[in-house]
């Protein structure tokens, strides 16, 4: 009796230890393992590992890209599009992601391409990605310190009360304001979640936010939608072609 108990205990300890060891693999090792699984055509497993890394809080463009590929290969178009879009949110210029996203979108039934951005919209996006959101914030902080230091020097020391210092202070003030604005803007963009990817096919968009609303159109897996409004259960979504309707929020994974 006691022998069996010992064996059981031992096996539990061993199991726990091995599980612990699996946890202790470094992210890079797990990433490489997922890449190997991907090469061996075991896409679902690979996607699982990538997803785990993402869930742990690593948001790297390449991780999203690889996860998108694995999902694409295991025919989960919605998740593939979601991960590519995530990668693009971090780096909108990445050619490989743009290419693979276009491929994934070919699988989306009823996919309508978004209007191409105008040149100033592109500039605006490039400008936003000049720094990371935290970069903008840090910049604003540094500039503020410099500005204040300058102002104090100007106020308190007579020899700094020159024209050059005044111009310098004006420029620093403007830059500081811009950095602060951009940091608030990128923060709000990152927290708005007003776009989403539809996660399953054949969803009926309804005219009103309840189950009995009139059917307007059908949403398919992988479609990118704008979330305009939301109640507890229902989200009002808008397609790229301008159609709007209500769907259950759980069908749309917000970016």
């Amino acid at each position: 009796m006691s022998a069996i108990r010992y064996i059981l205990l031992l096996s539990f300890v061993l199991l726990g230890y091995s599980a612990l060891q699996a946890q202790q693999l470094s992210p890079q090792q797990r990433f490489e393992r997922a890449n190997r699984l991907y090469q061996q055509n075991q896409y679902t497993e690979a996607a699982g590992i990538y997803q785990q890394l993402i869930n742990e809080g690593y948001s790297l463009p390449d991780l999203y890209f690889n996860a998108g590929n694995a999902y694409y290969k295991s025919n989960r178009t919605g998740m593939a599009v979601y991960n590519y879009e995530k990668a693009l949110l971090i780096n909108p210029e990445n050619e490989a992601v743009i290419h693979n996203l276009a491929l994934a979108n070919q699988r989306v039934q009823g996919f309508t391409d978004e209007l191409p951005l105008l040149f100033f919209q592109k500039w605006w996006i490039q400008w936003q990605h000049l720094h990371s959101p935290n970069g903008w914030t840090t910049g604003s902080l540094v500039l503020l310190w410099l500005l204040i230091a300058g102002i104090l020097a100007y106020l308190l020391a007579e020899r700094f009360q020159t024209r050059a210092v005044r111009i310098g202070l004006g420029v620093a003030g403007a830059l500081c304001a811009i950095y602060f604005f951009m940091s608030v803007y990128t923060y709000s963009v990152a927290h708005s979640h007003d776009t989403g990817i539809v996660m399953s096919s054949g969803i009926k968009a309804r005219a009103a936010p309840d189950q009995n609303g009139k059917d307007l159109f059908t949403l398919n897996e992988g479609m990118k939608v704008q979330v305009l409004d939301a109640t507890q259960e229902f989200c009002k979504v808008q397609l790229a072609d301008g159609k709007t309707g209500w769907v259950a929020c759980e069908q749309v994974k917000r970016l």
Partner: protein, 661 residues
């Protein structure tokens, strides 16, 4: 075997009595039987029944059974004869009827009774099953093989002899009424209430008793149905059918299997037929005999030739009616038929149901159990049975994401002219495994509605397990780094910087603290500056306040010089006192002082007129006295008085103006 038969067409049994006596000598086996040509007949189909009395020694009466359910077409005809077989002679008497059933059903004829040798005997009873008329049943009369019904001269043998007479339009007969009575269309449907998708058969038939050349001008469109025509023989084959006691030739125009596609009341469109009916019109021609005429022509043209003596309109042999042929156009239309289509029940409908109605079987199979990711797998699903096979949609197959699925290849194998429609439809799904490993294809599910059971039925196949091993395609993926338009760019393998997402700085308290510190410093700096400025301003204020005093102090010094009579020193001191006062009062640095600036400053403070004038006069006087001494004590005294007056006046004025400002 030798058989001789004698037909006797009249009632009566006298002869048969004599023969019966004659035959009694032979000690042969006695038999009394009932024979029918067929025990299963269609309605409108004539059949023969025979009551046979063999070797009856002394027949005194012969009574047929009641034939109420049948119409006697012919008979009774009595046949008697004898046969000699192997030196044995046998005699028989038979009563023969040709009957036609009046109703559908099973009928038992009890058998005929006869009194033989004073005893009553009864023949065996016969059961006759009468089914609904089906064309082309056994015993069909010779068909009219020529399409378009040319007017016939000679009647077909047997029962067809009634119809030709209708081709003659007798005097006083209404053409329309005649046509209406003798040509019409009928639509027969086997069901009038069906489920959506359930098969029904519609047959469009042309009934005619007249020679006619017909063509179908409008075929029904079958709106709301999916139609499948049954191929009919070409040229059309006629059958005969008895309707209200009259014999019609029946041509099937169209026979279609219909599958309603929607529920509700649907209408079968009518069919339209254009007929050219050839009628023979009898015309009384009195001038006929005056005309020379070929007797043969007459002979051949005469439609009444066949049976002139029976023709009631036959007057006399030499006054035969002149005939003309007339082609009468006659358009007919069938009456539309309403079909009530019931919707399929919704509550119990399985998810996998997609429109199959009937009775089906399904089999599913895969062609490989193990393969590599380079190969393709075929999942074959065969659905066979009876019902709307031609409308079958593919079964529900949940192919897992690890397979690429292509649209199925559909192969039909529908039995030609089957009714109900039966056959099979085969779906071949080509599947490309994308992932290696043990993969499972879930069971294929197929549901159909059984209209007989009025319920849905679901068939499921077993699940399939496939072993997929990685193929060589992996290698190709690795080598291909060029951006092809349709090839996925492979995963990135570069080592990553595994830094977890930093929280947003903007949301952290540290940021706001760090933001607040310089602002506080700025505030402190500004306060300090203010204080500094205040202090400076205060010093100015004190200077200003003591301006008068300072001036008087300076002037005191000047007064001492005046007393001592030091003229140069006096003027110098006076001038300095005034300039000093102005410098302090008007905040002008000593170096910048000049008359013009002082005047501007004063005028900007709205101090003008006498006072200013006196001030400048005094300053001028002082300068003059410095460079050209007058050595006059009075003048010095006057200058001193003036200086005191000017300064005190200015002081006053600056005060009031300051208050105003």
């Amino acid at each position: 075997m030798m058989v001789s038969q004698v037909y006797i067409r009249k009632w009566g049994l006298s002869l048969f009595f004599c023969l019966g006596i004659l035959a009694s000598a032979a000690a042969q086996e006695f038999r009394f039987t009932t024979n029918v040509s067929s025990t299963r007949v269609a309605q409108d189909e004539p059949f023969q029944i025979q009551f046979m009395l063999e070797n009856a020694p002394n027949v005194s009466s012969f009574q047929p059974p009641a034939l109420n359910d049948f119409e006697i077409l012919q008979g009774p005809s009595q046949v008697q004869g004898q046969s000699i077989f192997n030196g044995q002679r046998s005699e028989y008497i038979a009563l023969i009827y040709v009957l036609q059933p009046r109703r559908v059903g099973n009928f038992t004829l009890p058998g005929a009774t006869a009194r033989v040798d004073g005893k009553m005997v009864r023949s065996n009873p016969v059961t006759i099953e009468v089914v609904k008329g089906s064309p082309g049943a056994a015993q069909a009369p010779p068909p009219a093989t020529v399409p378009g019904f040319p007017p016939r001269r000679s009647a077909p043998p047997g029962i067809g002899d009634e119809d030709v007479a209708e081709g003659i339009l007798r005097k006083g007969e209404d053409v329309d009424a005649k046509l209406r009575k003798n040509i019409f269309l009928k639509v027969e449907v086997d069901k009038t209430s069906v489920y959506e998708g359930e098969q029904l058969t519609a047959t469009y038939k042309l009934y005619t008793r007249l020679p006619t050349n017909s063509s179908v001008t409008r075929v029904p469109a079958f709106k709301g149905f999916s139609a499948k025509d049954i191929e009919l023989p070409n040229p059309p084959q006629a059958t005969t059918e008895r309707l209200n006691g009259k014999l019609f030739k029946v041509f099937t125009i169209r026979k279609t299997l219909l599958f309603p596609l929607q529920s509700g009341t649907l209408e079968l469109d009518p069919v339209e037929v254009d007929n050219q009916v050839r009628l023979v019109r009898l015309v009384q021609d009195n001038n006929r005999r005056n005309r020379p005429r070929d007797i043969f022509e007459d002979f051949f043209n005469d439609p009444g030739f066949r049976d002139p003596f029976n023709d009631p309109f036959f007057d006399d042999f030499f006054n035969r009616p002149e005939v003309t042929y007339e082609d009468v156009p006659y358009k007919i239309q069938s009456t539309p038929v309403k079909i009530n289509v019931k919707p399929l029940p919704v509550d119990t409908r399985p998810i996998s149901f997609n429109g199959a109605v009937g009775n089906f079987r399904m089999s599913a199979s895969i062609d490989k159990k193990a393969l590599t990711t380079d190969d393709a797998l075929t999942l074959k699903v065969v659905i066979s049975g009876q019902g709307n096979v031609n409308l079958l949609n593919g079964p529900k197959v949940d192919i897992p994401g690890s397979f690429e699925k292509y649209d199925p290849k559909i192969t039909d194998n529908i039995e030609k002219n089957s009714n109900p429609l039966s056959g099979s439809r085969q779906f071949e799904f080509a599947l490309m495994p994308l992932e290696a490993g043990q993969q499972t294809i879930p069971p294929v599910e197929f549901s159909y509605f059984d209209p007989l059971a009025k319920a849905y039925k679901t068939i499921r196949s077993q699940a399939f397990t496939v072993n997929v091993s990685p193929g060589k395609q992996t290698k190709r993926d690795q080598e291909d780094f060029s951006v092809d338009k349709n090839v996925l760019i492979p995963v990135r393998k570069t080592p990553q910087q595994w830094v977890k997402d930093a929280a947003f700085l903007l949301g952290s308290t540290w940021y706001w603290i760090l933001l607040l510190i310089p602002l506080l410093a700025l505030g402190a700096g500004i306060l300090y500056r203010r204080r500094l400025n205040y202090r400076q301003n205060n010093a100015d204020m004190l200077k200003h306040r003591y301006a008068n005093k300072a001036a008087l102090k300076r002037l005191e010094l000047a007064a001492r010089y005046l007393k001592e009579g030091k003229e140069h020193a006096f003027y110098e001191e006076t001038s300095r006192a005034i300039w000093g006062y102005l410098s302090h009062k008007l905040h002008i640095p000593f170096a910048d002082l000049n008359k013009q600036l002082v005047q501007d400053k004063l005028s900007s403070r709205q101090i003008n007129g006498q006072n200013t004038h006196e001030l400048f006069e005094l300053l001028d006087n002082c300068e003059m006295a410095l460079y050209a001494p007058a050595h006059s004590n009075d003048k010095m005294q006057g200058a001193y008085q003036q200086a005191v007056k000017v300064i005190s006046q200015l002081e006053e004025e600056l005060k009031t103006k300051k208050e105003l400002i």
